[in-house]
Amino acid sequence: MRRQAVSLAATGGLVCLQALAGSLQAQSWLPPAGEGYFSLGYGNTFATDHYLGTAANPGDNVETNRGHMRSQFVTAAIGYGITDHLELAVGLPFASGRWYPAGGIGAPHPGSNADNGDYHGAFQDFRIQALYQVVREPVALTPFVAAVIPSHSYTYLAHSAIGRDLHEYLVGVNFGSGLDRLLPGGYVQAMYSYAFVERVLDIHHDRSNAALELGYFVTPSLGARFLATGFYTHGGLSFRQPSDLGPGSLSNPIFVHHDQIGHESGISLGGGLSYALTGSVDVYATYMRTVLGHLGVRIEHGIAFGFSWGFSPKQVARGMFGPRSVGGEPAVQP
């Protein structure tokens, strides 16, 4: 069930990591009707390499040091079960990024004021999502639609950019199942989505996103999980070395937008733990790193942790304003 560990929002911290990759986590199980949740998570990613070659060694999968990037995210999300089968959720990260030369290697993006070694932070993209669980057993099948909407126009031409500043509209599906026959306490869930991404320079660069989660409840309160995420850009701009982009100046639109429209792909692996502190509060921590990529950056280390709190707005309101006399019952004698 809800935070019953697969924690709808308990995995929300992944949004932080995956914000860089544009993917989502799997979410096959929804909160029941009338249940709301609030989650707050912190993420920290450290990227050491670009997947981008050099003149001497060109290739979109060549790992080269072009300076290091550290990004931090604080993501707040709320969700609500409209029915037992329908959930609406919205989240907004505050992101902060920093780039600096590593060992004297690497140069800031020409024309960018952000790559000066300092953190630059701003609210990133609203993520609004509606999920509908079609089938619950034996396999949970939960399609969804989502929109990624930049909260404002922010800098995207920088190693330390907090995002791509692009609108995305996603359609996807989640699958999930318990594994009690194979492994009591185990479960698996997976997600695939197709993102219609705002075109730039009239270049088509939609994305496929996927996620896999294998989980096991070590105890009724403690869950452990293996995580894998990946994404693939359909179309986009292919290049194998910086000089393929032409002049690195603001007068070159290809250069200006290359971080938005690259033919990027990547796979990240990791794991995490979640713990049910109470029947309504879960905490979680995850670790992920990129293991394969083309263009983009390689996340050397990515951590996230946070909590989610489930509540019934109706019960909360009743507790504040509801009846104090339940009516008619005789006095209780202990």
Binding site: M1, G279, S280, Q333, P334
Partner: protein, 180 residues
């Protein structure tokens, strides 16, 4: 329907009940006025399921149909379900109406002062305590996991088959039982 207004009489207060411990006896008057003594019920049933329920908690309501079906199924096997609606934010009338709407024909009682909840150590809705015929707690926790395991059903099946109940304790998740 045996639901109803409730009143209970407890011998004394205690902290949360441990697995294997004998549940303290209590006496309830159900929403429809029936008198139920736990000790007497234990003598005439193979097991007792004490369920803490709510009319407005989403998690409790999520299991309404499952609880209805299990109560009917296991009643035929000598298991008595007793519903407890603790706290003061839901009225007896609401509990009665809720039981009617969802076909909960097992005894249900209001526990406005949380005396039963305090005695058994219940903190959530839904939360389940399964007692064997001697009144010992053999299972405590959730009704089921949404992902997979039907924990209450598994516990009752094991108990009735004479097998050890595993797991004997799971994490009850849901709404806090309002105190005060």
């Amino acid at each position: 329907m045996a639901s109803a207004l409730f009143v209970i009489t407890l011998a004394s207060r205690a902290s949360a009940l441990d697995i294997g411990a004998v549940a303290p006896d209590f006496h309830i008057r159900t929403l429809d006025g029936q008198e139920v003594w736990l000790a007497e019920a234990e003598k005439s049933h193979r097991a007792i399921v004490v369920l803490f329920l709510s009319t407005i908690c989403p998690y409790s309501n999520y299991y309404n149909d499952l609880i209805r079906d299990m109560a009917v199924e296991f009643d035929k096997k000598g298991v008595l379900f007793i519903g407890i609606n603790s706290g003061r934010i839901e009225t007896a009338e609401e509990a009665r109406t809720h039981a009617l709407e969802h076909g909960h024909t097992f005894p249900i009682a209001k526990d406005p002062q949380n005396l039963v909840a305090e005695r058994l150590g219940a903190r959530r809705t839904p939360e389940v305590f399964v007692l064997d015929a001697s009144g010992r707690l053999v299972y405590h926790g959730r009704v089921a996991s949404k992902i997979s395991s039907p924990d209450l059903k598994n516990a009752l099946d094991a108990l009735l088959a004479g097998r050890p109940v595993k797991p004997a304790e799971t994490k009850a998740f849901g709404c806090a039982i309002p105190r005060g």
